[in-house]
Structure formats: structure tokens, C-alpha cells
């Protein structure tokens, strides 16, 4: 089944003309429902947020004042720095771990490998809320699984959500836990897409395992790496639920993220919503740009390949 599907997708990009209906009213009819929904719930809000980010709360045009205001808000600036640190840690560790895990699974007998794949994929179905609830059970101060173990062995309990470097670890580890299975399977399928003959040829030429990894595995998996890195970067820059529910942004706003700041200030009736909207525009620009560039890059590479 898997193979057939892959073949379908491989064929998909090849030029085909025969069964395309030209100037078809039907075409419009088929895309009409989707168009209505996208216009109502995506384009209208986007257009409105664009307009509102240049207006004050009474609707008068104020130029770039909202953007200036949000860029002078210390918490927002701090949140950008925080999310960059957190994302960098998650992206690097997740890429490394899932790449290594994929190679470990490759060495296992197929049945064991499949069972492991499914076991590590389970967390992927958990929401941010559930992940936070589960990890809070382990991390709660004085109670919590880890601290009750510490108390049992007569050690001082650690305030995981507040002490030193721990708040960062409390966010990074659950985030890694959540995405590990998905990324491992993605890396595994990338590795399996490389023909075995490449490695055999390298062996004959006398290349070692490390050399084979550097000159065969990594370049041939570039599309998979791009896909994974972009998903990880754009996903983690939007980090919201896990920091909100595990550390609550503390201590001293050192783990607050931009999306969390926007969500909270949007729910705060005392704050001007148009400033929040301007902030959400600033968050959108790098994420959307990165996504569009990566998507075009992968698509054009694929059409070169076929």
C-alpha cells in the first residue's frame, strides 16, 4: 500500500495534459466551497489585521505607531529572545536525536523496529495541554514524581519551574518528547529512500561509515532535512501551550514566548487589541517567509529530479 502511494506521488508532478478540462465552469464549482471558507476565515481576517495594525482603537489611521509601540514593549522584546533560545535548542536536539534514532531503528529486526516506531509515535497525538498536565505531574514542586523521589532519598526538592536553568529544560524536554516519534519516522523514510547500491559502491571504493554518512546519507536526504528543519523552526517559533502551562512564562518572564504574550494580551481587555494585532503581524512575517521559501525550494528541486 505504502509503495503504491509513493508511486502515485512520484508520478504526480510529471506533466499530464490529457484529462484536464479546459475553461471549465465545473472547475470553479468544485473549488467554490473551499474558496468561500478560505475567504471568510483566512483572507478576511488577514486583511482586517493588516488594516487594524495601522489604526488606533477608534479606527483612525496612525501609521506605524502600533508597530513602534509593540517593539518598545520590554516583555514582547524579551519574548522574542526567549523563543529564539528555546527553538534553537529544540531544533538542534530534535534533529540530532531523530537522525540517530532512525539509524538505530534501521539496525533492528523489522518487527522490533515497527513496534519501537509505534511506541515512540504515541506522544505525537497528545495536545499541548495534555503534555503539560502529564509533565506537571512529574515536575511539581515538593510533590510531583521527581521531587517525591528526591525527598525519598533525603535530597532537597527542586523547584523545576523556577530554579536556574530548569525552566528551560522543563519546556525543551516535553517539546522534544512530543515531536520525537514523528521526526524519527520522517528521517527513517528519508534514509530508506536512498538506494542501497550507493552504499555498496562506497564500500567498494573503501569509504568508511562516517564518510558514507557525510557524502551519501546527508546530501541525499537534503529534502527531508529541509522539510524537518522548516517544520521544526516555524513550529517552535509559535511555541505557546507548553510554556504557558508548565512555567507560565516565569521566572521573571524568562520563558514567555511571543505567541503566549499575544494570546494573553488579546484576552486582556485593558490592552489595545490593534497593538496586539500589529504584534501578530510581526510574528507572521519571518514564519511565513521561511515557509514560502522552503516550499518553493523543495518543489523546484523535486521537478528537477523527475
Amino acid at each position: 500500500m505504502e509503495k503504491e502511494l509513493i508511486q502515485f506521488h512520484r508520478d504526480a508532478d510529471k506533466k499530464r495534459k490529457k484529462f484536464v478540462y479546459r475553461n471549465a465552469l465545473w472547475g470553479y464549482l468544485f473549488i467554490l466551497p473551499a474558496m468561500i471558507f478560505l475567504v471568510t476565515f483566512s483572507f478576511t481576517p488577514l486583511f482586517m489585521s493588516f488594516v487594524r495594525s495601522f489604526q488606533d482603537f477608534q479606527g483612525t489611521f496612525v501609521g506605524f505607531n502600533n508597530f513602534k509601540f509593540i517593539l518598545q514593549t520590554p516583555t514582547f522584546i524579551k519574548s522574542i529572545g526567549n523563543v529564539l533560545i528555546l527553538s534553537a535548542a529544540v531544533v538542534i536536539l530534535q534533529t540530532l536525536f531523530s537522525f540517530l534514532m532512525a539509524h538505530l531503528i534501521l539496525k533492528l529486526p523489522p518487527k522490533v523496529g515497527n513496534a519501537i516506531k509505534i511506541a515512540i509515535y504515541i506522544p505525537n497525538m497528545m495536545s499541548g495541554v495534555i503534555t503539560s498536565v502529564i509533565f506537571n505531574l512529574f515536575l511539581r514542586y515538593n510533590r510531583g514524581f521527581f521531587d517525591s523521589l528526591m525527598l525519598h532519598f533525603n535530597m532537597d526538592p527542586i523547584y523545576f519551574a523556577q530554579d536556574g536553568i530548569w525552566p528551560f529544560i522543563c519546556i525543551i524536554v516535553p517539546t522534544l518528547w512530543l515531536g520525537f516519534g514523528y521526526n524519527t519516522i520522517l528521517m527513517l523514510s528519508g534514509r530508506l529512500s536512498i538506494p542501497k547500491e550507493y552504499y555498496e559502491a562506497a564500500k567498494i571504493d573503501g569509504a568508511g561509515a562516517f564518510r558514507a554518512m557525510m557524502s551519501i546519507t546527508i546530501p541525499n536526504m537534503s529534502n527531508y532535512f529541509i522539510l524537518m528543519l522548516v517544520n521544526l523552526i516555524t513550529g517552535n517559533l509559535q511555541m505557546l501551550e507548553i510554556p504557558m502551562f508548565i512555567t507560565g512564562g516565569g521566572p521573571n518572564e524568562s520563558t514567555i514566548t511571543p505567541c503566549m504574550y499575544l494570546f494573553q494580551s488579546f484576552n486582556d481587555v485593558m490592552r489595545d487589541r490593534n497593538i496586539t494585532i500589529a504584534g501578530s503581524f510581526l510574528v507572521m512575517i519571518p514564519i511565513t517567509l521561511l515557509n514560502v521559501i522552503a516550499f518553493t525550494c523543495i518543489r523546484s528541486k523535486r521537478s528537477e529530479d523527475s
Binding site: L108, V129, R143, H152, G190, L237
Partner: protein, 289 residues
């Protein structure tokens, strides 16, 4: 040394290496599923049991009330099973609508040439690159104007059209061979009949992959319901909101929180265990686009 003992040694070495790899992989998998293993007996633990020192694996008294309280209304007037039911209903309806709308649009893009397609297609795709929070906070104004706020529909309609799903189905449809349509057309089938008789039956696997994703996405959503449901909470509260509220309301009742969490995650886990082969294949596919 004779040949057979060399072979034997090589064989033992091979078994030992594979054994070490299996052990390593099992350790990783154990660490990852450990929270769930710990939670299962803990769901029956009472207030004093849960953080007892030394920690206990199994409860000293099996507290069935942790589960039975979930059927009763809480102080806010909503009950856990009501939230469970409402979320399930929303998930099923939204998934059906999502599949219908996106498959039709994908068919439109895959098999029809029309004026403006070169502009409309990238515009559609653009929506999948925009962060959720940017669209969501102004969508509130739109759904308020449409009088959808604080109704069931606000949980269903805004995510009904999904550019990623359209893209996924379009890729799949482009790979379906012409000969099948030719045969159907010779039989006198129209556009809609071709869609229903040729495309729909072939699309079971992508429908499962997208459908499961859509259902679990609705099941797990917290931010949008929190923004869009400000009144009638006791009727419309989603299951994630309920679990979050429960986990913050009374810190001593952790047995109850674990019980509710286990029931909540059972739903996606059951869905996953039914379709796991196809979902794993779906991840492989996402790497191919």
C-alpha cells in the same frame, strides 16, 4: 583455529550487536512511554497515596470515585462526559465537512483548467504558511459579525477548508491514471459521477490520513475554543479546556486529573491503533512532497 569456530564467533558477535541495539532502542521507547505507564495505576490513587513517600507504584486503596466524579456536574455546571461528547461530535462533523470540501477543491485543481487558476492556487497555498495566532485573533471579529461566536458552529466552520489537505489530495489525484476516467466517460458518466465513482473509491487511504489528522486536531484544540467560546461554557466547553481547568482547580485531587487525562487520551489512541499503519505511511508521504 578451524573454520567453524570462526563462523560461530562471527555469529555470536552479530547476535550480540543486534541484541545491544534492541536493548538500546527498548530503553529509549521505555523512557518515552514511561509517563503513560506510571499514570495508569495512579488514576486510582487517592489524595494521600499519590505523592506518598516512598513513592508507590500501585494505590493502597483503589479509589474508583476518581472516575465516578467525572460523570457528575462540577461547580461550573458542566461535566467531563458532556465535554467529551461535545468534542467528539464536533470532531466527527468537522472531519466529514473538511474531507468533503477539500476533496472537491482538490479535484477542481487537479483535473480542471480555468481562468485565474495560476493566481488562485498560490493564494490557497499561502494560507497554510500563516501562523495560527495571526489569523485566530482577528477571526474573532469575523465570527462575531457572523453571529457564530459561542455556538457549536464556531468550532467547526473556520477550519473546514484547509489548504494543506487540498494540496495533499491534489497530489494524490494527479497520480491517478487517465485510463480509469476514460472508461467512466465512455460509460457516459459526468464530472460528479467520475469524482464519485473513480476518485472517491481510490482515495480511502489519503482520506484516512487526513481524516485522522483533522479529528485529532479538533480533539486537541485549546487556543481557538478558549478565544471563541466566552459564554455558554457549561454546554460548549471542549475536552482540553476541561482537563486544563481540572488540573488547575484542585491540586490535591491529582488522581481525578489523571483519570480524566487517561480517558481523554484514550480517544486519539484508539483512533491511532485502528489506523496506525496508514498514519505511519502518511508521514513517509509528507517527505515526498
Amino acid at each position: 583455529m578451524d573454520q567453524s569456530s570462526v563462523l560461530l564467533k562471527a555469529k555470536i558477535k552479530k547476535i550480540a550487536t543486534v541484541g545491544a541495539f534492541i536493548l538500546g532502542a527498548l530503553c529509549v521507547a521505555f523512557v518515552i512511554v514511561f509517563p503513560f505507564i506510571w499514570m495508569v495505576p495512579s488514576a486510582w490513587k487517592g489524595r494521600t497515596d499519590i505523592w506518598s513517600i516512598p513513592p508507590k507504584w500501585f494505590p493502597s486503596v483503589w479509589e474508583w470515585s476518581n472516575f465516578s466524579v467525572l460523570t457528575e456536574p462540577d461547580i461550573n455546571g458542566g461535566s467531563f462526559f458532556r465535554s467529551f461528547g461535545v468534542t467528539f461530535f464536533v470532531g466527527v462533523v468537522a472531519t466529514a465537512l473538511n474531507l468533503a470540501i477539500n476533496m472537491l477543491a482538490a479535484y477542481g485543481f487537479a483535473r480542471h483548467e480555468f481562468w485565474g487558476k495560476k493566481i488562485i492556487w498560490p493564494l490557497f497555498l499561502f494560507t497554510m504558511f500563516v501562523p495560527g495566532i495571526t489569523v485566530q485573533i482577528t477571526s474573532i471579529q469575523v465570527v462575531t459579525k457572523l453571529h457564530l461566536i459561542n455556538t457549536l458552529l464556531v468550532l467547526i466552520l473556520p477550519t473546514a477548508a484547509n489548504a494543506y489537505n487540498i494540496f495533499f489530495f491534489r497530489q494524490f489525484f494527479l497520480g491517478i491514471p487517465d485510463s480509469l476516467e476514460e472508461a467512466a466517460e465512455l460509460d457516459g458518466a459526468g464530472r460528479i459521477q467520475i469524482f464519485l465513482r473513480v476518485f472517491l473509491p481510490l482515495s480511502v487511504t489519503p482520506m484516512i490520513i487526513t481524516g485522522v489528522g483533522c479529528f485529532i486536531g479538533h480533539w486537541n484544540s485549546y487556543i481557538w475554543p478558549t478565544l471563541a467560546i466566552t459564554e455558554r461554557q457549561e454546554e460548549l466547553r471542549q475536552v482540553m479546556q476541561f482537563v486544563y481547568m481540572l488540573s488547575t482547580s484542585d491540586v490535591r485531587e491529582y488522581g481525578k486529573v489523571i483519570a480524566a487525562t487517561l480517558i481523554t487520551i484514550a480517544c486519539p489512541l484508539i483512533v491511532f491503533s485502528i489506523f496506525q499503519k496508514k498514519i505511519v505511511a502518511g508521514i513517509t508521504l509528507s517527505g515526498l512532497k
